[in-house]
Protein backbone atom coordinates (compact mmCIF):
# COMPACT_ATOMS: atom_id res chain seq x y z
CA UNK A 1 0.00 0.00 0.00
CA UNK A 2 1.54 3.30 -1.07
CA UNK A 3 0.52 6.91 -0.62
CA UNK A 4 -0.01 7.14 -4.40
CA UNK A 5 -2.55 4.33 -4.38
CA UNK A 6 -4.39 5.80 -1.39
CA UNK A 7 -4.46 9.21 -3.10
CA UNK A 8 -5.77 7.70 -6.32
CA UNK A 9 -8.45 5.74 -4.47
CA UNK A 10 -9.44 8.85 -2.53
CA UNK A 11 -10.10 10.69 -5.77
CA UNK A 12 -12.39 7.89 -6.92
CA UNK A 13 -14.71 8.54 -3.99
CA UNK A 14 -16.21 11.58 -5.68
CA UNK A 15 -15.82 10.60 -9.28
CA UNK A 16 -17.93 13.40 -10.76
CA UNK A 17 -16.15 16.10 -8.79
CA UNK A 18 -12.73 14.73 -9.66
CA UNK A 19 -13.71 14.38 -13.31
CA UNK A 20 -14.98 17.95 -13.51
CA UNK A 21 -11.77 19.21 -11.94
CA UNK A 22 -9.71 17.19 -14.42
CA UNK A 23 -11.80 18.64 -17.27
CA UNK A 24 -11.23 22.17 -15.97
CA UNK A 25 -7.48 21.59 -15.87
CA UNK A 26 -7.61 19.93 -19.30
CA UNK A 27 -9.37 22.95 -20.75
CA UNK A 28 -6.73 25.33 -19.45
CA UNK A 29 -3.92 23.04 -20.67
CA UNK A 30 -5.59 22.85 -24.07
CA UNK A 31 -5.84 26.64 -24.32
CA UNK A 32 -2.26 27.10 -23.14
CA UNK A 33 -0.76 24.45 -25.46
CA UNK A 34 -2.74 25.75 -28.44
CA UNK A 35 -1.73 29.31 -27.70
CA UNK A 36 1.95 28.47 -27.35
CA UNK A 37 1.67 26.33 -30.48
CA UNK A 38 0.05 29.22 -32.32
CA UNK A 39 2.70 31.63 -31.08
CA UNK A 40 5.38 29.40 -32.51
CA UNK A 41 3.51 28.27 -35.63
CA UNK A 42 2.39 31.70 -36.77
CA UNK A 43 5.87 33.18 -36.70
CA UNK A 44 7.29 30.09 -38.36
CA UNK A 45 4.66 30.19 -41.11
CA UNK A 46 5.16 33.91 -41.62
CA UNK A 47 8.93 33.48 -41.90
CA UNK A 48 8.37 30.63 -44.31
CA UNK A 49 6.03 32.73 -46.46
CA UNK A 50 8.57 35.53 -46.51
CA UNK A 51 11.49 33.21 -47.27
CA UNK A 52 9.47 31.65 -50.08
CA UNK A 53 9.07 35.04 -51.72
CA UNK A 54 12.59 34.49 -53.04
CA UNK A 55 13.70 38.06 -52.40
CA UNK A 56 14.29 40.26 -49.38
CA UNK A 57 13.06 43.61 -50.67
CA UNK A 58 10.04 44.53 -52.79
CA UNK A 59 9.75 47.74 -54.67
CA UNK A 60 6.24 48.86 -55.64
CA UNK A 61 4.56 52.08 -56.67
CA UNK A 62 3.89 54.41 -53.74
CA UNK A 63 0.77 53.44 -51.82
CA UNK A 64 -0.44 51.92 -48.64
CA UNK A 65 2.22 49.73 -47.02
CA UNK A 66 -0.38 47.19 -45.93
CA UNK A 67 -1.54 46.81 -49.51
CA UNK A 68 2.07 46.40 -50.51
CA UNK A 69 2.43 43.72 -47.85
CA UNK A 70 -0.69 42.01 -49.14
CA UNK A 71 0.71 42.19 -52.65
CA UNK A 72 3.84 40.47 -51.47
CA UNK A 73 2.16 37.76 -49.51
CA UNK A 74 -1.14 37.15 -51.20
CA UNK A 75 -0.74 38.56 -54.65
CA UNK A 76 -2.79 41.42 -56.04
CA UNK A 77 -2.83 43.99 -58.79
CA UNK A 78 -1.27 46.79 -56.81
CA UNK A 79 -2.46 50.33 -56.99
CA UNK A 80 -0.11 51.83 -59.50
CA UNK A 81 2.55 50.84 -61.99
CA UNK A 82 6.28 51.36 -62.12
CA UNK A 83 8.40 51.79 -65.19
CA UNK A 84 10.27 48.67 -66.16
CA UNK A 85 13.51 50.51 -66.91
CA UNK A 86 13.86 51.07 -63.17
CA UNK A 87 15.31 47.54 -63.06
CA UNK A 88 18.62 48.69 -64.47
CA UNK A 89 19.02 51.52 -61.95
CA UNK A 90 18.25 49.29 -59.01
CA UNK A 91 20.57 46.54 -60.22
CA UNK A 92 23.51 48.97 -60.12
CA UNK A 93 23.44 49.08 -56.31
CA UNK A 94 26.37 47.11 -54.86
CA UNK A 95 24.16 45.22 -52.38
CA UNK A 96 21.94 43.79 -55.10
CA UNK A 97 22.61 40.28 -56.36
CA UNK A 98 19.56 40.00 -58.59
CA UNK A 99 16.45 41.92 -59.57
CA UNK A 100 13.33 40.48 -61.07
CA UNK A 101 10.45 42.49 -62.49
CA UNK A 102 6.85 41.34 -62.06
CA UNK A 103 3.52 42.40 -63.44
CA UNK A 104 0.49 41.12 -61.60
CA UNK A 105 -2.88 41.24 -63.33
CA UNK A 106 -6.12 39.88 -61.99
CA UNK A 107 -9.28 39.58 -64.02
CA UNK A 108 -12.75 38.30 -63.33
CA UNK A 109 -13.33 35.00 -65.08
CA UNK A 110 -17.06 34.23 -65.40
CA UNK A 111 -16.28 30.61 -66.30
CA UNK A 112 -14.32 29.99 -63.13
CA UNK A 113 -16.17 27.85 -60.62
CA UNK A 114 -19.94 27.98 -60.32
CA UNK A 115 -20.38 31.73 -60.20
CA UNK A 116 -17.10 32.98 -61.62
CA UNK A 117 -13.98 34.11 -59.81
CA UNK A 118 -10.76 36.07 -60.04
CA UNK A 119 -7.86 34.67 -62.06
CA UNK A 120 -4.38 35.96 -61.17
CA UNK A 121 -1.70 36.15 -63.84
CA UNK A 122 1.83 36.99 -62.80
CA UNK A 123 4.17 38.09 -65.51
CA UNK A 124 7.73 37.17 -64.60
CA UNK A 125 11.07 37.43 -66.28
CA UNK A 126 12.12 33.93 -67.43
CA UNK A 127 15.77 34.94 -67.09
CA UNK A 128 15.68 35.99 -63.41
CA UNK A 129 12.50 34.81 -61.70
CA UNK A 130 13.22 31.04 -61.78
CA UNK A 131 16.60 31.75 -60.13
CA UNK A 132 15.02 33.85 -57.41
CA UNK A 133 12.48 31.08 -56.77
CA UNK A 134 14.99 28.27 -57.07
CA UNK A 135 13.20 26.25 -54.41
CA UNK A 136 10.09 25.77 -56.55
CA UNK A 137 9.72 22.22 -57.80
CA UNK A 138 7.73 21.00 -60.76
CA UNK A 139 5.15 18.27 -60.66
CA UNK A 140 5.50 18.11 -64.40
CA UNK A 141 7.19 20.19 -67.11
CA UNK A 142 9.37 23.26 -66.46
CA UNK A 143 9.73 27.01 -66.84
CA UNK A 144 9.06 28.80 -70.12
CA UNK A 145 12.28 29.98 -71.75
CA UNK A 146 11.32 32.50 -74.42
CA UNK A 147 10.56 36.02 -73.10
CA UNK A 148 7.50 36.51 -75.27
CA UNK A 149 6.18 32.97 -75.48
CA UNK A 150 2.50 32.27 -74.98
CA UNK A 151 3.33 29.68 -72.39
CA UNK A 152 2.16 29.29 -68.82
CA UNK A 153 3.34 27.64 -65.63
CA UNK A 154 0.50 26.89 -63.25
CA UNK A 155 0.57 26.62 -59.50
CA UNK A 156 -0.67 23.31 -58.10
CA UNK A 157 -4.09 24.53 -57.04
CA UNK A 158 -4.59 26.68 -60.13
CA UNK A 159 -3.98 23.62 -62.31
CA UNK A 160 -6.35 21.55 -60.19
CA UNK A 161 -9.03 24.21 -60.39
CA UNK A 162 -8.67 24.74 -64.13
CA UNK A 163 -8.14 21.00 -64.66
CA UNK A 164 -5.15 21.57 -66.85
CA UNK A 165 -2.21 19.30 -67.66
CA UNK A 166 1.08 20.08 -69.35
CA UNK A 167 0.42 20.60 -73.05
CA UNK A 168 -3.16 21.81 -72.55
CA UNK A 169 -4.22 25.24 -73.81
CA UNK A 170 -5.11 27.92 -71.26
CA UNK A 171 -7.47 30.72 -72.17
CA UNK A 172 -6.56 34.06 -70.61
CA UNK A 173 -9.85 35.30 -69.26
CA UNK A 174 -11.42 38.24 -71.12
CA UNK A 175 -8.43 38.79 -73.39
CA UNK A 176 -9.05 36.44 -76.24
CA UNK A 177 -5.57 35.06 -75.87
CA UNK A 178 -4.41 31.53 -75.28
CA UNK A 179 -1.25 30.13 -73.70
CA UNK A 180 0.08 26.61 -73.62
CA UNK A 181 0.68 25.05 -70.23
CA UNK A 182 4.35 24.04 -70.07
CA UNK A 183 4.75 23.31 -66.39
CA UNK A 184 2.76 22.55 -63.25
CA UNK A 185 4.34 23.26 -59.89
CA UNK A 186 4.29 20.97 -56.91
CA UNK A 187 2.26 22.15 -53.93
CA UNK A 188 4.15 24.79 -51.92
CA UNK A 189 1.58 25.79 -49.32
CA UNK A 190 2.03 29.43 -50.41
CA UNK A 191 0.21 31.87 -52.66
CA UNK A 192 2.19 30.45 -55.59
CA UNK A 193 -0.19 27.45 -55.57
CA UNK A 194 -3.01 29.60 -56.92
CA UNK A 195 -0.97 31.67 -59.38
CA UNK A 196 -0.62 31.35 -63.14
CA UNK A 197 2.86 32.42 -64.26
CA UNK A 198 3.40 33.82 -67.73
CA UNK A 199 6.41 35.55 -69.32
CA UNK A 200 6.51 39.23 -68.37
CA UNK A 201 6.46 40.45 -71.98
CA UNK A 202 3.43 38.28 -72.75
CA UNK A 203 1.44 39.70 -69.84
CA UNK A 204 2.47 43.24 -70.78
CA UNK A 205 1.31 42.61 -74.33
CA UNK A 206 -1.95 40.83 -73.52
CA UNK A 207 -2.96 43.36 -70.87
CA UNK A 208 -1.58 46.30 -72.80
CA UNK A 209 0.90 47.34 -70.12
CA UNK A 210 4.01 47.71 -72.21
CA UNK A 211 7.02 48.86 -70.20
CA UNK A 212 5.07 48.68 -66.95
CA UNK A 213 5.46 46.48 -63.94
CA UNK A 214 3.76 46.23 -60.52
CA UNK A 215 6.77 45.25 -58.53
CA UNK A 216 10.45 44.56 -58.37
CA UNK A 217 11.74 41.69 -56.33
CA UNK A 218 15.27 42.39 -55.11
CA UNK A 219 17.73 39.90 -53.70
CA UNK A 220 20.59 41.37 -51.71
CA UNK A 221 23.89 39.93 -50.60
CA UNK A 222 23.98 38.25 -47.19
CA UNK A 223 26.22 40.87 -45.57
CA UNK A 224 24.25 43.81 -46.98
CA UNK A 225 22.83 46.48 -44.68
CA UNK A 226 19.20 46.25 -45.76
CA UNK A 227 18.12 49.33 -43.81
CA UNK A 228 20.66 51.56 -45.55
CA UNK A 229 19.82 50.02 -48.90
CA UNK A 230 16.09 50.59 -48.51
CA UNK A 231 16.75 54.19 -47.45
CA UNK A 232 18.66 54.70 -50.67
CA UNK A 233 15.83 53.17 -52.69
CA UNK A 234 13.49 55.81 -51.32
CA UNK A 235 15.47 58.35 -53.33
CA UNK A 236 13.72 56.93 -56.37
CA UNK A 237 10.55 58.86 -57.24
CA UNK A 238 7.15 57.55 -56.12
CA UNK A 239 8.23 54.17 -54.89
CA UNK A 240 7.23 52.15 -51.94
CA UNK A 241 9.99 49.97 -50.49
CA UNK A 242 9.00 47.06 -48.38
CA UNK A 243 11.61 44.87 -46.75
CA UNK A 244 10.72 41.46 -45.42
CA UNK A 245 11.59 42.58 -41.91
CA UNK A 246 9.08 45.44 -42.27
CA UNK A 247 6.40 43.11 -43.52
CA UNK A 248 7.03 40.77 -40.67
CA UNK A 249 7.00 43.59 -38.11
CA UNK A 250 3.81 45.06 -39.57
CA UNK A 251 1.99 41.76 -39.41
CA UNK A 252 3.35 40.86 -35.99
CA UNK A 253 2.27 44.24 -34.62
CA UNK A 254 -1.20 43.70 -36.08
CA UNK A 255 -1.22 40.36 -34.35
CA UNK A 256 0.18 41.47 -31.01
CA UNK A 257 -3.10 42.86 -29.66
CA UNK A 258 -4.86 39.62 -30.55
CA UNK A 259 -2.06 37.74 -28.81
CA UNK A 260 -2.41 39.80 -25.65
CA UNK A 261 -6.11 39.00 -25.57
CA UNK A 262 -5.58 35.30 -26.10
CA UNK A 263 -2.79 35.21 -23.50
CA UNK A 264 -5.16 36.88 -21.05
CA UNK A 265 -7.77 34.22 -21.78
CA UNK A 266 -5.18 31.50 -21.20
CA UNK A 267 -4.14 33.05 -17.88
CA UNK A 268 -7.78 33.34 -16.81
CA UNK A 269 -8.36 29.71 -17.80
CA UNK A 270 -5.38 28.63 -15.70
CA UNK A 271 -6.53 30.74 -12.75
CA UNK A 272 -10.02 29.22 -12.96
CA UNK A 273 -8.49 25.75 -13.09
CA UNK A 274 -6.33 26.59 -10.03
CA UNK A 275 -9.39 27.79 -8.11
CA UNK A 276 -11.10 24.55 -9.13
CA UNK A 277 -8.19 22.54 -7.76
CA UNK A 278 -8.20 24.46 -4.46
CA UNK A 279 -11.96 24.02 -4.18
CA UNK A 280 -11.92 20.29 -4.91
CA UNK A 281 -9.02 19.43 -2.65
CA UNK A 282 -10.10 21.73 0.17
CA UNK A 283 -13.62 20.29 0.13
CA UNK A 284 -12.15 16.82 0.17
CA UNK A 285 -9.97 17.78 3.17
CA UNK A 286 -12.92 19.21 5.10
CA UNK A 287 -15.04 16.18 4.33
CA UNK A 288 -12.28 13.87 5.57
CA UNK A 289 -11.41 15.89 8.63
CA UNK A 290 -12.03 13.00 11.05
CA UNK A 291 -10.48 10.46 8.74
CA UNK A 292 -7.28 12.50 8.45
CA UNK A 293 -7.17 12.60 12.25
CA UNK A 294 -7.52 8.83 12.32
CA UNK A 295 -4.67 8.52 9.80
CA UNK A 296 -2.55 10.53 12.21
CA UNK A 297 -3.54 8.23 15.07
CA UNK A 298 -2.34 5.33 12.90
CA UNK A 299 1.10 6.90 12.75
CA UNK A 300 0.93 9.32 9.83
CA UNK A 301 3.19 12.32 10.44
CA UNK A 302 2.11 15.80 9.27
CA UNK A 303 4.39 15.48 6.26
CA UNK A 304 2.74 12.17 5.33
CA UNK A 305 -0.71 13.74 5.34
CA UNK A 306 0.63 16.74 3.42
CA UNK A 307 2.12 14.43 0.80
CA UNK A 308 -1.07 12.40 0.58
CA UNK A 309 -3.20 15.44 -0.17
CA UNK A 310 -0.57 16.94 -2.45
CA UNK A 311 -0.35 13.67 -4.34
CA UNK A 312 -4.10 13.86 -4.95
CA UNK A 313 -3.51 17.32 -6.43
CA UNK A 314 -0.65 15.95 -8.52
CA UNK A 315 -2.83 13.16 -9.94
CA UNK A 316 -5.59 15.62 -10.84
CA UNK A 317 -3.16 18.03 -12.49
CA UNK A 318 -1.19 15.40 -14.39
CA UNK A 319 -4.37 13.74 -15.67
CA UNK A 320 -5.95 17.07 -16.61
CA UNK A 321 -2.90 18.53 -18.29
CA UNK A 322 -2.19 15.26 -20.17
CA UNK A 323 -5.77 15.22 -21.43
CA UNK A 324 -5.50 18.90 -22.35
CA UNK A 325 -2.34 18.50 -24.43
CA UNK A 326 -3.82 15.42 -26.12
CA UNK A 327 -6.76 17.61 -27.11
CA UNK A 328 -4.34 20.30 -28.30
CA UNK A 329 -2.38 17.75 -30.35
CA UNK A 330 -5.45 16.03 -31.73
CA UNK A 331 -7.48 19.14 -32.46
CA UNK A 332 -4.68 21.41 -33.69
CA UNK A 333 -6.26 21.55 -37.15
CA UNK A 334 -9.65 22.53 -35.72
CA UNK A 335 -7.99 25.22 -33.60
CA UNK A 336 -6.20 26.43 -36.70
CA UNK A 337 -9.44 26.75 -38.67
CA UNK A 338 -10.89 28.77 -35.83
CA UNK A 339 -7.82 31.01 -35.57
CA UNK A 340 -7.75 31.60 -39.32
CA UNK A 341 -11.33 32.90 -39.18
CA UNK A 342 -10.40 35.39 -36.47
CA UNK A 343 -7.10 36.73 -37.81
CA UNK A 344 -6.73 39.71 -40.14
CA UNK A 345 -3.94 37.94 -41.96
CA UNK A 346 -2.84 34.33 -41.67
CA UNK A 347 0.16 32.96 -43.50
CA UNK A 348 0.04 29.67 -45.35
CA UNK A 349 1.07 26.42 -43.73
CA UNK A 350 0.49 25.09 -40.26
CA UNK A 351 -0.42 27.93 -37.88
CA UNK A 352 -0.72 25.90 -34.67
CA UNK A 353 2.37 23.81 -34.07
CA UNK A 354 2.01 21.66 -30.98
CA UNK A 355 4.78 19.09 -30.68
CA UNK A 356 5.76 16.74 -27.87
CA UNK A 357 8.29 19.16 -26.38
CA UNK A 358 5.63 21.88 -26.18
CA UNK A 359 3.15 19.36 -24.80
CA UNK A 360 5.63 18.34 -22.09
CA UNK A 361 6.28 22.01 -21.21
CA UNK A 362 2.53 22.64 -20.94
CA UNK A 363 2.03 19.61 -18.69
CA UNK A 364 4.91 20.83 -16.51
CA UNK A 365 3.58 24.40 -16.32
CA UNK A 366 -0.03 23.43 -15.57
CA UNK A 367 1.05 20.80 -13.04
CA UNK A 368 3.33 23.31 -11.32
CA UNK A 369 0.46 25.82 -11.13
CA UNK A 370 -1.83 23.08 -9.80
CA UNK A 371 0.66 21.95 -7.18
CA UNK A 372 1.04 25.54 -6.08
CA UNK A 373 -2.71 25.79 -5.59
CA UNK A 374 -2.68 22.47 -3.72
CA UNK A 375 -0.27 23.79 -1.08
CA UNK A 376 -2.91 25.39 1.13
CA UNK A 377 -5.31 22.41 1.28
CA UNK A 378 -2.36 20.08 1.94
CA UNK A 379 -1.11 22.37 4.71
CA UNK A 380 -4.59 22.47 6.25
CA UNK A 381 -4.79 18.69 6.14
CA UNK A 382 -1.35 18.30 7.70
CA UNK A 383 -2.44 20.45 10.66
CA UNK A 384 -5.40 18.23 11.63
CA UNK A 385 -4.83 16.72 15.06
CA UNK A 386 -6.27 13.31 15.90
CA UNK A 387 -7.75 14.76 19.06
CA UNK A 388 -9.68 17.40 17.07
CA UNK A 389 -11.04 14.65 14.85
CA UNK A 390 -12.12 12.61 17.88
CA UNK A 391 -13.73 15.61 19.52
CA UNK A 392 -15.64 16.48 16.36
CA UNK A 393 -16.74 12.85 16.22
CA UNK A 394 -18.00 13.06 19.80
CA UNK A 395 -19.94 16.22 18.93
Amino acid sequence: MTIYRIAYKNLLRKKTRSLLTVLGIALSAWVLASLLGFNRGYEWALNRDIDNMGFQVLLTAKGCPYEAATLMLKGGTGLRYLKEDMVRGVAKNPEVTSVTAMLMQAVFDPDKGESGGMSAYLGVDPATFPQAKGFLEFKKGGWFKAPEAYEAVMGYEAAELEQREVGDPLLIAGKNAEAKVVGILKRTGTQDDGTIFLPLRTVQKVFERKGQITGLGIKVSKDANIDKFTERLYDLPDVQVVSMAQVKNTIMSLLSSAKVMVFSIAIIAILIAMVGVVNTILMSVFERFQELGILKSMGAMPKDVFMLVWTETLILCLSGSALGVCLALGLARVTELLVRRLLPYAPNGSLVQVDWALAASTVAAVTAAGLLSGLYPAWRAARVRPLDAIRSEAQ
Binding site: I3, I6, M298
Partner: protein, 227 residues
Protein backbone atom coordinates in the same frame (compact mmCIF):
# COMPACT_ATOMS: atom_id res chain seq x y z
CA UNK B 1 2.77 -8.36 36.16
CA UNK B 2 4.48 -5.00 35.37
CA UNK B 3 2.58 -1.77 34.82
CA UNK B 4 2.42 -0.58 31.26
CA UNK B 5 0.80 2.73 32.22
CA UNK B 6 1.21 4.69 35.46
CA UNK B 7 -0.86 7.85 35.78
CA UNK B 8 -0.46 10.08 38.81
CA UNK B 9 -2.64 13.00 39.82
CA UNK B 10 -3.74 13.72 36.26
CA UNK B 11 -5.64 16.98 35.90
CA UNK B 12 -7.15 18.38 32.75
CA UNK B 13 -8.68 21.80 32.79
CA UNK B 14 -10.59 23.25 29.83
CA UNK B 15 -11.29 26.93 29.60
CA UNK B 16 -14.78 27.90 28.53
CA UNK B 17 -15.09 31.66 28.29
CA UNK B 18 -13.74 33.02 31.54
CA UNK B 19 -14.47 29.81 33.43
CA UNK B 20 -12.07 26.91 34.04
CA UNK B 21 -13.70 23.50 33.91
CA UNK B 22 -11.83 20.54 35.39
CA UNK B 23 -12.58 17.52 33.20
CA UNK B 24 -10.18 15.43 35.29
CA UNK B 25 -9.42 16.26 38.85
CA UNK B 26 -6.40 14.37 40.13
CA UNK B 27 -6.81 10.89 38.67
CA UNK B 28 -4.21 8.28 39.59
CA UNK B 29 -4.27 4.86 37.99
CA UNK B 30 -2.05 1.91 37.03
CA UNK B 31 -2.74 -0.43 34.14
CA UNK B 32 -0.87 -3.70 33.91
CA UNK B 33 0.56 -5.11 30.73
CA UNK B 34 -1.99 -7.46 29.16
CA UNK B 35 -4.83 -6.08 31.24
CA UNK B 36 -8.30 -5.38 29.79
CA UNK B 37 -9.66 -2.29 31.56
CA UNK B 38 -13.10 -0.84 30.90
CA UNK B 39 -13.89 2.79 31.71
CA UNK B 40 -17.53 3.57 32.37
CA UNK B 41 -19.43 6.54 33.63
CA UNK B 42 -22.05 9.06 32.56
CA UNK B 43 -21.46 11.49 29.73
CA UNK B 44 -19.17 14.32 30.86
CA UNK B 45 -17.60 12.21 33.62
CA UNK B 46 -14.16 12.57 32.02
CA UNK B 47 -13.62 9.01 30.81
CA UNK B 48 -12.81 9.95 27.19
CA UNK B 49 -10.55 12.79 28.37
CA UNK B 50 -8.68 10.34 30.62
CA UNK B 51 -8.34 7.74 27.91
CA UNK B 52 -7.10 10.39 25.42
CA UNK B 53 -4.35 11.30 27.86
CA UNK B 54 -3.53 7.65 28.60
CA UNK B 55 -3.42 7.09 24.83
CA UNK B 56 -1.05 10.07 24.29
CA UNK B 57 -3.64 11.84 22.15
CA UNK B 58 -3.68 14.81 24.51
CA UNK B 59 -1.46 16.48 27.09
CA UNK B 60 -2.70 16.74 30.69
CA UNK B 61 -2.79 20.13 32.39
CA UNK B 62 -0.80 18.64 35.25
CA UNK B 63 0.21 15.25 36.56
CA UNK B 64 2.56 12.57 35.29
CA UNK B 65 2.23 9.61 32.98
CA UNK B 66 4.73 6.82 32.53
CA UNK B 67 4.61 4.37 29.65
CA UNK B 68 6.45 1.10 30.45
CA UNK B 69 8.40 3.00 33.09
CA UNK B 70 9.38 5.86 30.75
CA UNK B 71 8.11 9.31 31.62
CA UNK B 72 5.82 10.69 28.93
CA UNK B 73 4.11 13.58 30.63
CA UNK B 74 5.67 15.38 33.55
CA UNK B 75 5.18 18.88 34.99
CA UNK B 76 6.33 21.52 32.49
CA UNK B 77 6.90 18.91 29.81
CA UNK B 78 4.24 19.20 27.10
CA UNK B 79 4.93 17.14 24.01
CA UNK B 80 4.56 18.39 20.47
CA UNK B 81 2.15 16.75 18.05
CA UNK B 82 5.06 15.12 16.20
CA UNK B 83 6.52 13.71 19.46
CA UNK B 84 3.11 12.37 20.46
CA UNK B 85 2.75 10.79 17.00
CA UNK B 86 6.10 9.01 17.37
CA UNK B 87 5.03 7.56 20.73
CA UNK B 88 1.56 6.68 19.50
CA UNK B 89 2.59 4.81 16.41
CA UNK B 90 5.00 2.56 18.31
CA UNK B 91 2.69 1.76 21.21
CA UNK B 92 -0.99 2.32 20.49
CA UNK B 93 -3.74 1.16 18.24
CA UNK B 94 -7.02 3.08 18.22
CA UNK B 95 -10.59 2.14 17.52
CA UNK B 96 -13.28 4.80 17.55
CA UNK B 97 -17.05 4.87 17.44
CA UNK B 98 -17.02 5.66 13.71
CA UNK B 99 -15.00 3.23 11.68
CA UNK B 100 -13.49 5.69 9.18
CA UNK B 101 -12.67 3.06 6.61
CA UNK B 102 -11.71 4.33 3.17
CA UNK B 103 -14.68 3.31 1.03
CA UNK B 104 -12.67 2.78 -2.16
CA UNK B 105 -10.14 0.43 -0.52
CA UNK B 106 -10.84 -3.24 0.07
CA UNK B 107 -10.93 -4.76 3.55
CA UNK B 108 -7.35 -5.97 3.15
CA UNK B 109 -6.16 -2.58 1.88
CA UNK B 110 -7.88 -0.77 4.74
CA UNK B 111 -6.21 -3.05 7.24
CA UNK B 112 -2.71 -2.49 5.85
CA UNK B 113 -3.32 1.27 5.46
CA UNK B 114 -1.04 2.15 8.44
CA UNK B 115 1.90 0.55 6.60
CA UNK B 116 1.76 3.43 4.10
CA UNK B 117 2.95 5.71 6.90
CA UNK B 118 4.74 3.52 9.41
CA UNK B 119 5.68 -0.12 9.68
CA UNK B 120 6.96 -1.16 13.06
CA UNK B 121 9.59 -3.86 13.35
CA UNK B 122 7.75 -7.05 14.18
CA UNK B 123 4.54 -5.81 12.56
CA UNK B 124 2.28 -8.48 11.19
CA UNK B 125 3.67 -10.30 8.22
CA UNK B 126 0.57 -12.40 7.85
CA UNK B 127 -2.35 -9.98 7.70
CA UNK B 128 -4.60 -12.75 6.39
CA UNK B 129 -4.15 -14.61 9.69
CA UNK B 130 -5.33 -11.50 11.57
CA UNK B 131 -8.33 -11.25 9.26
CA UNK B 132 -9.02 -14.92 9.98
CA UNK B 133 -8.79 -14.30 13.76
CA UNK B 134 -11.38 -11.55 13.40
CA UNK B 135 -13.62 -13.58 11.12
CA UNK B 136 -12.96 -11.40 8.11
CA UNK B 137 -11.09 -13.88 5.93
CA UNK B 138 -14.05 -14.27 3.58
CA UNK B 139 -14.44 -10.50 3.33
CA UNK B 140 -10.81 -9.81 2.41
CA UNK B 141 -11.50 -8.32 -1.02
CA UNK B 142 -14.84 -6.70 -0.24
CA UNK B 143 -15.31 -2.95 -0.11
CA UNK B 144 -16.54 -1.39 3.17
CA UNK B 145 -19.92 -0.66 1.57
CA UNK B 146 -20.49 -4.39 1.27
CA UNK B 147 -19.97 -5.04 4.99
CA UNK B 148 -22.23 -4.92 8.04
CA UNK B 149 -21.53 -2.41 10.81
CA UNK B 150 -19.98 -5.14 12.97
CA UNK B 151 -17.73 -6.25 10.18
CA UNK B 152 -16.64 -2.68 9.49
CA UNK B 153 -15.73 -2.20 13.14
CA UNK B 154 -13.79 -5.48 13.12
CA UNK B 155 -11.88 -4.15 10.09
CA UNK B 156 -11.11 -1.04 12.16
CA UNK B 157 -9.91 -3.32 14.99
CA UNK B 158 -7.69 -5.24 12.54
CA UNK B 159 -6.32 -1.94 11.22
CA UNK B 160 -5.50 -0.87 14.77
CA UNK B 161 -3.71 -4.16 15.43
CA UNK B 162 -1.71 -4.53 12.22
CA UNK B 163 1.34 -2.76 13.64
CA UNK B 164 1.12 -5.00 16.74
CA UNK B 165 0.49 -2.27 19.33
CA UNK B 166 1.10 -2.91 22.98
CA UNK B 167 -2.11 -1.12 23.88
CA UNK B 168 -5.39 -1.05 22.01
CA UNK B 169 -7.51 1.95 22.89
CA UNK B 170 -11.17 1.56 22.00
CA UNK B 171 -13.48 4.52 22.55
CA UNK B 172 -17.14 3.51 22.30
CA UNK B 173 -16.39 0.89 19.66
CA UNK B 174 -19.94 -0.45 19.79
CA UNK B 175 -21.66 2.93 19.97
CA UNK B 176 -23.01 2.63 16.43
CA UNK B 177 -23.84 -1.06 16.54
CA UNK B 178 -26.82 -3.16 17.54
CA UNK B 179 -26.43 -5.72 20.34
CA UNK B 180 -25.58 -8.60 18.04
CA UNK B 181 -22.83 -6.64 16.30
CA UNK B 182 -21.65 -5.30 19.67
CA UNK B 183 -21.19 -8.90 20.83
CA UNK B 184 -19.00 -9.57 17.78
CA UNK B 185 -16.72 -6.69 18.77
CA UNK B 186 -16.66 -7.76 22.42
CA UNK B 187 -15.60 -11.26 21.36
CA UNK B 188 -12.96 -9.89 19.01
CA UNK B 189 -11.46 -7.68 21.74
CA UNK B 190 -11.44 -10.55 24.23
CA UNK B 191 -9.75 -12.75 21.67
CA UNK B 192 -7.02 -10.19 21.01
CA UNK B 193 -6.49 -9.65 24.72
CA UNK B 194 -6.38 -13.29 25.71
CA UNK B 195 -4.86 -14.72 22.55
CA UNK B 196 -2.31 -12.01 21.70
CA UNK B 197 -1.81 -10.41 25.10
CA UNK B 198 -2.74 -6.94 23.85
CA UNK B 199 -3.51 -4.48 26.68
CA UNK B 200 -6.99 -3.09 26.07
CA UNK B 201 -8.36 0.21 27.32
CA UNK B 202 -12.04 0.44 26.60
CA UNK B 203 -14.48 3.31 27.01
CA UNK B 204 -18.10 2.25 26.87
CA UNK B 205 -21.61 2.92 28.00
CA UNK B 206 -22.47 -0.72 27.42
CA UNK B 207 -22.37 -2.56 30.79
CA UNK B 208 -22.16 -5.98 29.19
CA UNK B 209 -19.18 -4.94 27.09
CA UNK B 210 -17.56 -3.33 30.13
CA UNK B 211 -17.81 -6.60 32.06
CA UNK B 212 -15.82 -8.36 29.30
CA UNK B 213 -12.64 -6.84 30.77
CA UNK B 214 -10.62 -7.75 33.85
CA UNK B 215 -11.46 -4.54 35.61
CA UNK B 216 -14.12 -1.84 35.39
CA UNK B 217 -13.15 1.71 36.35
CA UNK B 218 -16.02 4.11 36.91
CA UNK B 219 -15.50 7.82 36.56
CA UNK B 220 -17.76 10.50 37.91
CA UNK B 221 -17.16 14.26 37.87
CA UNK B 222 -13.58 13.88 36.68
CA UNK B 223 -12.50 11.43 39.36
CA UNK B 224 -12.37 7.68 39.80
CA UNK B 225 -15.25 6.45 41.87
CA UNK B 226 -14.07 4.00 44.53
CA UNK B 227 -15.18 0.44 43.84
Amino acid sequence: MSNILEARDIRKVFRRGSEDIAALDGVSLDIEKGEFVSFVGPSGSGKTTLVNILGCLDNPTSGTLKLSGTSIFAPGKALSEAELTRIRRRTFGYVFQNFHLIPTLTVYENVILPFAFFRKEGSLGDVDALLGDLGLDKRRDHLPGQLSGGEMQRVAVARALVNVPEILLADEPTGNLDSKRADEIRDALKKMNRGKGVTIILVTHNPELARAGHRVVELRDGAIRPA
